[in-house]
């Protein structure tokens, strides 16, 4: 029998990466928050690879951190190895990737959650969203019959909605690491008007350390000097990285042959399952088929934890039957005798169509109901955490009656991510890529705090202590600029002469400021530090000065692009137009526009199926409306 079990400001359903950030954000913003999860032991689980960050994703983690979220600190505190990627490809795309200890990561996160004021993490399976007769959100109901009232509900159900685990011909209800699926909630969502679709993802086998012959692989050490995700290091994060290495090996012709011979035993290849998989993280069988001319594929062997004997086999995700998996696994160099401790599988789950959401991640149809994470069709821990954070913040702001907090495409990767979800919509699991961000030179990982910490503080999520650290850094950068601008170095300065010759830089005829010197492409902040006049700061401050001066020209160009972009972005479309009646629009555009009711011309331009010609027509339409209304005023 159902019973009333309590009342909250905010209920978060699911304790994955989205749920954790959502619950922490809401609670930290003073909301009485309840996080309900299927298993308290699997909070912040990394069911796939034990690594966080990488291109675009690393930027997201730093943005989360700058806003006052938890993921960055948690990854830093539990890192086994870190690496700065893309160092040769430009300052905007440096990307930190950390291998975290999967078990420590979970343990630390539950500790943080449990110690958070206003937050209770409770184990229960949520089976329904409760609405009253008028369709207003009331709360949720759990399988025990417990009904909780809540002003807001954030669904972060990950891959658990009616999930099924598939290995070869075997297709059974299931969820990661032996948990049970979230049943009931899918039906409940359908009954209140949500269309659900089936997405899938997969994971590779885990192998026993003692059975892997690492000598046949290439060692992939980390770089202890890669830095941290968090802009606000604590005792916990500042530990020396242990630098546990990863290893690189490859598939070969024999591996591919076995896979090809056994495709008939995959439910996805026999066409029995419709699940749409992630393009950028395909199963090994997909890779072999899609890139049939490639004679080998890279595979990384990654540690799961300091205490753990399990190794993760990145790039080897498979939904083939267990016996086939073992067979082709043993063809890989170094894996001849590998013992499997968990086999790979594909998981299918329900996701909503993210187009039903606002930029706050609140449902357009049901006030107070938010969605975040994989349930919105994304893939990846970082993407999930970012949504959780934004949903949590916005739920809290709504409860307090404040303006929503929305990040734009030119402010943050998080802004790009959410805008893509709610405006463009997605048709396959969405992974954040740098290429989806138009202004990535502005959205660097090194300046996430400069972009967002002020906002994080204003929202109330970034603590006073962290904010003070931020202000200090900002002050140092400003001071640094002043010194660079005002310090003139004489062309007769001996150190300068030496430094210039060393770097093949043409000696100036007259005195140059440090700023002018730094602008020279052949010189860098590090090189100029030979000059005693060069201001000395913590590394991250010098890095800012270096980047902001040396890339000024490009940054200016990108800012001009943003200004251009904002022109359409700020052109609002009236919400009462019937687009069907606008001649000149394509039929598809009329329907899509009527369906999505974009708020601005910029939004409209990003809806799939809306062409530039349609946007021209809309501009002209707006122009005419203006003309008409001004004429009416004159009459």
């Amino acid at each position: 029998m159902a019973f009333w079990a309590g009342e909250y400001d905010c209920i978060v359903v699911g304790g994955g990466h989205a749920g954790c950030e959502a619950a922490l954000a809401a609670a930290r913003l003073g909301c009485q928050t309840l996080l309900l999860t299927i298993s308290r032991d699997q909070i912040a689980l990394m069911p796939c690879n034990p690594s966080i960050g990488g291109p675009a994703k690393g930027n997201i983690v730093r943005e989360i951190d700058a806003l006052g979220g938890e993921m960055g600190v948690n990854a830093d505190a539990t890192a086994l190895q870190a690496k700065l990627l893309n160092t040769g490809k430009g300052p905007a795309v440096h990307a930190l990737r950390v291998q975290s200890d999967r078990y420590q990561y979970q343990r630390r996160m539950i500790r943080v959650l449990d110690r958070q004021d206003h937050l209770l993490v409770r184990q229960n399976v949520v089976v329904a969203v409760l609405l009253d007769a008028t369709g207003t959100l009331v709360g949720i109901e759990a399988e025990t019959g417990a009904q909780y009232r809540s002003k807001t509900v954030i669904l972060c159900t990950g891959t658990y909605l009616d999930s099924r685990i598939i290995r070869g011909e075997s297709n059974v209800p299931g969820a990661p690491v032996g948990q049970m699926p979230a049943y009931g909630l899918s039906d409940s969502l359908r009954s209140i008007g949500f269309d659900l679709r089936r997405f899938k993802t997969g994971t590779p086998p885990r192998l026993h350390r003692r059975s892997i012959d690492f000598s046949k692989m290439t060692i992939q050490p980390g770089d202890p000097k890669s830095g941290h995700f968090s802009f606000y290091p604590t005792e916990e994060t500042r530990h020396d990285l242990p630098d546990i290495p990863c290893y690189l090996t490859y598939t070969n012709a024999q591996t591919h042959q076995i896979i090809r011979d056994n495709l008939g035993r995959s439910l996805f290849y026999t066409g029995e399952l419709p699940g749409i998989g992630p393009r950028y993280c395909p199963s090994i069988e997909n890779k072999v088929i899609r890139f049939h001319d490639k004679d080998r594929h890279q595979l990384f062997v990654e540690p799961e934890g300091l205490d753990s004997q399990e190794y993760y086999f990145q790039g080897f995700s498979s939904a083939l039957p267990e016996d086939v998996q073992e067979k082709f696994l043993h063809t890989v160099a170094g894996m001849e005798n590998a013992e499997v401790v968990r086999s790979g599988y594909a998981i299918e789950y329900d996701a909503i169509d993210s187009l039903v959401l606002r930029h706050t991640l609140e449902s357009k149809s049901i006030k107070g109901l938010y969605f975040a994470g994989q349930v919105n069709g994304t893939s990846g821990y970082e993407e999930a955490a970012a949504q959780g954070l934004m949903a949590g913040i916005n739920a809290a702001l709504a409860i307090h009656g404040k303006e929503p907090f929305i990040l734009t495409r030119s402010q943050a990767y998080i802004g790009v991510l959410i805008d893509d979800l709610v405006v463009k919509g997605i048709s396959e699991p969405y992974r954040m890529l740098t290429s989806t961000a138009e202004y990535r030179l502005l959205l660097r990982q090194d300046n996430a705090d400069l972009r967002l910490s002020e906002a994080g503080y204003r929202v109330g999520l970034l603590s006073e202590a962290r904010y003070q650290i931020f202000l200090q850094k900002k002050a140092m950068i400003e001071e640094g600029f002043k010194t660079l601008r005002e310090t003139v170095i004489s062309p007769k300065d001996e150190i300068l002469i030496e430094l210039m010759t060393e770097n093949h830089s043409v000696l100036p005829k007259h005195g140059l400021t440090l700023l002018e010197l730094l602008r020279r492409p052949e010189l860098s902040y590090a090189a100029l530090k030979a000059l005693p006049q060069m201001p000395k700061y913590p590394l991250e401050v010098e890095e800012q000065l270096d980047i902001q001066v040396r890339y000024e020209g490009y940054i200016d160009k990108q800012e001009a692009q943003v200004r251009q972009f904002n022109k359409l972005e700020q052109k609002s479309l009236p919400q009462d137009v019937d687009f069907i009646s606008i001649q000149g629009l394509s039929m598809e555009a009329r329907e899509k526009l009527n369906l999505h009711k974009p708020e601005t011309l910029g939004h409209a331009s990003r809806i799939t199926g809306i062409t530039p010609a349609d946007i021209s027509v809309l501009l002209i339409y707006l122009e005419q409306q203006n003309l008409r209304s001004s004429k009416e005023r004159n009459v």
């Binding site: 675009a56 990627l85 300052p91 001649q583 530039p612 122009e623 004429k631």
Partner: protein
Amino acid sequence: MFDQQETIAAIITAQGMGAMGAVRISGSEAFEAAQFLFRSKKGTLIQDMPHYALAYGWIYDGDVLLDQALLLKMKGPSSFTGEDVVELQCHGGPLVLARLLQALVSRGIRMAKPGEFSQRAFLNGKIDLTQAESVMDLVSSSNRVMAEVAVQQLQGSLSGKIKAFKEKIIGWIASIEAEIDFPDEFPVGLVTSVFESEIKVMIQQIDALLETAAYGRIYREGLRLVFYGRPNVGKSSLLNGLLQQKRAIVTAEPGTTRDVLEERMMIQGIPILLMDTAGVRDTGNLAEQEGVERARGAAAQADLVLFVLDLAQGLTEEDLLLLRDLDPEKTLLIANKADLVTNRVLSFEEKVKGFEVCILSAMEQEGIDALIQKIRERFESGTLTAGNEAVLINHRQEGALFQARKALESAQEGLLRGETTDLLSIDLQDAWSYLGEITGETVKEAVVTEIFARFCLGK
């Protein structure tokens, strides 16, 4: 703008120019209205004609026969305006056309305003805003409505080129981004030397485009059609035949024409510059020699060479020699004086393989219509364009093209300085975006509203 469209009509050939006149009717009542005026020779009704079909017949205003006419039927949405369209082509002069229009107006058809066909074409998604813009450029100057068809075709060639540039740039950007997004697959950066050479080539191509993009050249000058061939084959007679007036001197004596004679006309909506030239032969006469040189020069710069030979004499050695230097793509071979032979089968067909041949008689005015049709076909298939490279670019587009070039140049400089590929992509992004402004794929508010302000908004 977004109101129910009336059916409109206008004369689409220039006033007082040439012999052919045409009227276009566009809108839902186009077929019905035309049917009232037109009686086909075979008795076919317009509604029963297939799409893009021609019918020969007569135009009546009530019981009064106005003229003979050719009727072209185009069914919406695959017509220029996207609506049902009828074009009536007749021989009569301005007076006949005026009466024809009058008759249409009395049936409730409205006279089209300048640019209105294009406006509809834009609203029906047949042309993009920049194509419409080009029409507006011309319409607001002197050439009025008749330029529309031609502009549309010419714009196509510009968009084609710009789109090719854009695709290339997107390819570069994509390869840069793939390296950034998948560092495990591409641990080291891209080799930038590939970009260096490819960007250089693109800048050269843009320069070529900027050079040949003489603004509105076609509309000041028209397509160059040059009559070319040996003396006395009937070049001047043919010019007169097309113009329907005795413009050039014709005598039975070889070497009559000396200087290049230029004359303008419209051929079915296409502005044409006809050029009659001296017959090519070795001669001791200095004036004639100079004329021959000019003839060669004109042929070299022609958009289409009308190579004339005398069918009664067959293909002579000299003819062959001249033909050898001509590009079949840009040449029509005209076998004139067909009236002098009884058997009209070409005996020399093998030797002129690749050349399209048109057998006619300038004297008897026979086969001239077929010649006109052939010219039009060439134009529509796109093989006949103004200068091989020439495209129609207006001021704004030229500016955008210039900006795109600047961005590419900046990318090039960055490469030389050794900047990383990610920074390079910012310049490439800019170049791409400026190119998009030319084709209308990059939407800039200022541009769109300005262009459209020039349309007749009707209010």
